[in-house]
Subunit: 454 residues, 2 copies
């Protein structure tokens, strides 16, 4: 059960604020987890929020700040003094800071960067120079590094000294004097070893790593495959420059999934939470595909006009257009969803395309047969015309087969030309299949109706 | 970059097998990560696979075995001797074992359970008694437990002794003599503390936990919210019975997401990887919704028949049917995707339904205006008939507004009656909107065409 802490604590907090019992509020907040504090602060009005925020302990303040959405962070920053801003930014984890800078307008980032001490400024600048959505952008340079010739005792001492600042101390990386990655070990191995052993005795030399320029999605795949708590990131000269931890990977996975969901519904990526999306942004990110598809539907319209002869002579054909185009679209969106998801999780590779096509052809035939037969029965019951019913049944069968193949073929093609398969939205498939389905329908109708008429 | 180890190592492995160099193979496999061994074994033929499998080190064998899909595990088990099976099952992590038993047929599980030593047998049975997809099913009872009055030195000694078997030693739970959860601390805190401090000095008493019966999805939400490496699981008497670790949460997230994708495409949940889904299972899990939607399309057909008078007098109306029904469906699947995802990640709660409806009404009006206007222009260019074009434009506007609201209303309603909103598939929305759209279209057409005719 996710407990709604903010609902339980909010009245108490409100009371403390009303009574101006800042000491009480401060010790109350001290007991809470940063993630819960964020939930509570969100429920307060802006002045109360900034006030409570300032009461937080120094070591907690940057942690809480990092957990807000960047739009909220921007709002908060506006209300802080320069001194306060400087303090928070300096104390923030480098990866959280990069994420904030990532989203803020360039002129604000420039101002904020100037507030940082030289060391931090250099680091922040370097991180911001890595490509968007790359390992470099989500990594933190705060890892524990050890040397091969350290004894376990020495290593533990080193961890005790540097540990408090590090993102994780559970995975330790062994580097040589040129910062090249030589091995990896865990705190578990170190704890279980005897103090006179050397790090080289317990380290694993086959280190699995990612590069700064690797996409965050492939970093997530590595962490998931190997059940890592962290993965090391090396630069183009094989030097260890940072690590990505599993908690950030969970965020990456959720972000990528939301993006895929949106793309598959024909929406341009919206990163904000639902209620934080501005009205205009919501409209502008949804409208492009919708309009494109309205225009694309002109193809269906043209097809229908071309067949208006058959249409007016057999108006009953019209009745089944929604069933026919709908079924094509439904089947296509099923098969495209299966394949897009399988490509995203790495279950299938695009070079296996031939097996996939053959497989979906077989499945399509089975689905088409069942659906076509159902449609035929429906048509014969409601219309009683064998020729039209036969046309409906056979057309539905064909459209479903085609739809099923198109549904996998387009995502595979997208992957092949290095576009994201998730861009193949259900709306796109449906619109394509509307047009295809109509041509199939009328061509079959023309043949069957001619035969039965003669 | 995910490196394709299996492609690099496969030829070498094949050669070692061919030369019957088992010693070489054994030491080769020793160097590899279990996840990579799985990838390599998958590429071998069945006899080679079982043979290489048996060469694995004892401590690695159950780990590698656990990483296979359960269908593959079943295959492998068939080829093992009873002794071998017993060894692997006894050494497997309890949570991995539960997952395997979960999927195997009952009579096989019964046989396998009998192979376990009494202690393990009891544990496995208990875990299997928790509800499907609950925290109890995915947890492991192998955590590190400490007592409040232990010194840091004593605690470290305890960790050194019990650690090797534990799923994680990085998060330690403090329990009293009745096994009730009293606090939590991390190995980091322990390492950084001085050896004469007591555990109670460094533990956090505000432990965030889940219950055995909680759904795995809400467990995932807790781990994500608090960036936990593990979350403790307590039974109905508040006793600590296990932990769920973050690596299992990553799997849960992926599994739940795949499920949502499938539901939203109108597919009954398929848990296997794409290529491991049997043909019949693939068809049978996809066909129900497809057939339901074919039957549901009968409504559209009936509507079209009812309006066949208008249809035959203004055949041009037919041309725009795909554009109209398509746009309604597209808009509806966009808004339903946004809301389903926001509900799944907990960004919005269903009690905020009124804000959501108002918001989507506004967005729908904006989208509808732009799309309706586009459609009007297209119609006037291609047809030149003002009345029909006006009908198309106004209808499209109305259908888009309705579609946008329906897209959020149904998922919200589903959540309200405690069904999974993800069951609201794009196909379902599209089919519903086909019928609604047609009624709107012809009602508007009848009015406009009557006015312009008089």
């Amino acid at each position: 059960m996710e407990i709604q802490w903010q609902k339980i604590f909010l009245p108490e907090i409100k009371e403390l604020i009303e009574n101006k019992d800042f000491r009480g509020l401060r010790s109350f907040l001290r007991e809470l987890h940063p993630a819960d504090i964020v939930d509570i602060l969100r429920e307060l009005d802006p002045t109360e929020r900034v006030m409570s925020f300032r009461l937080l302990d120094k070591d907690k303040i940057s942690e809480v700040f990092a957990l807000f959405e960047y739009t909220e962070q921007e709002e908060l920053l506006k209300q802080f003094t320069e001194h306060h801003t400087k303090e928070i930014l300096t104390q923030m984890q480098p990866d959280d800071r990069t994420q904030l800078f990532d989203e803020l307008p360039a002129h604000i980032v420039e101002k904020l960067l100037k507030l940082l001490p030289p060391e931090e400024w250099k680091e922040a600048n370097e991180l911001l120079n890595y490509p968007d959505n790359s390992a470099g952008r989500i990594m933190t340079p705060e890892y524990v590094d050890l040397q091969t010739d350290m004894t376990i005792g020495k290593a533990l001492e080193h961890i005790r000294q540097t540990g408090p600042d590090r993102e994780t101390i559970y995975i330790c990386y062994i580097v040589d004097e040129t910062k090249r990655l030589r091995g990896v070990t865990t705190l578990k191995n170190i704890i279980l070893a005897s103090t006179d052993q050397f790090i080289r005795d317990i380290m694993n030399e086959n280190v699995i790593y990612v590069r700064t320029t690797d996409d965050q999605e492939s970093v997530a795949q590595v962490v998931q495959k190997y059940d890592f708590l962290a993965v090391p990131v090396v630069d183009h000269e094989d030097r260890l420059v940072g690590i990505v931890t599993v908690d950030d990977i969970l965020d990456v996975v959720q972000e990528e999934v939301t993006e895929d969901f949106q793309k598959m519904a024909g929406i341009q990526t919206i990163e904000e939470e639902y209620f934080r999306i501005g009205f205009l942004r919501c409209v502008s990110n949804r409208i492009p595909w919708l309009v494109v598809l309205v225009i694309a539907a002109t193809i269906s319209q043209t097809i229908l006009r071309n067949y208006s002869g058959i249409l007016s002579s057999a108006i009953a054909l019209t009745y089944f257009i929604p069933m026919l185009t709908g079924s094509g679209g439904n089947t296509g969106s099923q098969s495209s969803t299966l394949i897009i998801r399988a490509l995203a999780t790495g279950e299938v590779k695009s070079k296996e395309w031939w097996y996939i096509i053959v497989r979906e052809l077989k499945v399509g035939i089975a689905l088409g047969f069942i659906m076509g037969f159902t449609a035929f029965i429906i048509a014969i019951i409601s219309l009683g015309q064998t020729a039209t019913s036969l046309t409906v049944g056979i057309s539905l069968f064909t459209v479903v087969c085609v739809g099923n193949i198109v549904g996998v073929a387009i995502p595979l093609f997208f992957r092949f030309v290095r576009l994201d398969p998730a861009f193949v939205s259900a709306p796109l498939i449906a619109t394509l299949l509307d047009a295809t389905g109509l041509v199939i329908y009328f061509e079959i109708a023309r043949r069957i109706l001619t035969i039965t008429a003669s």
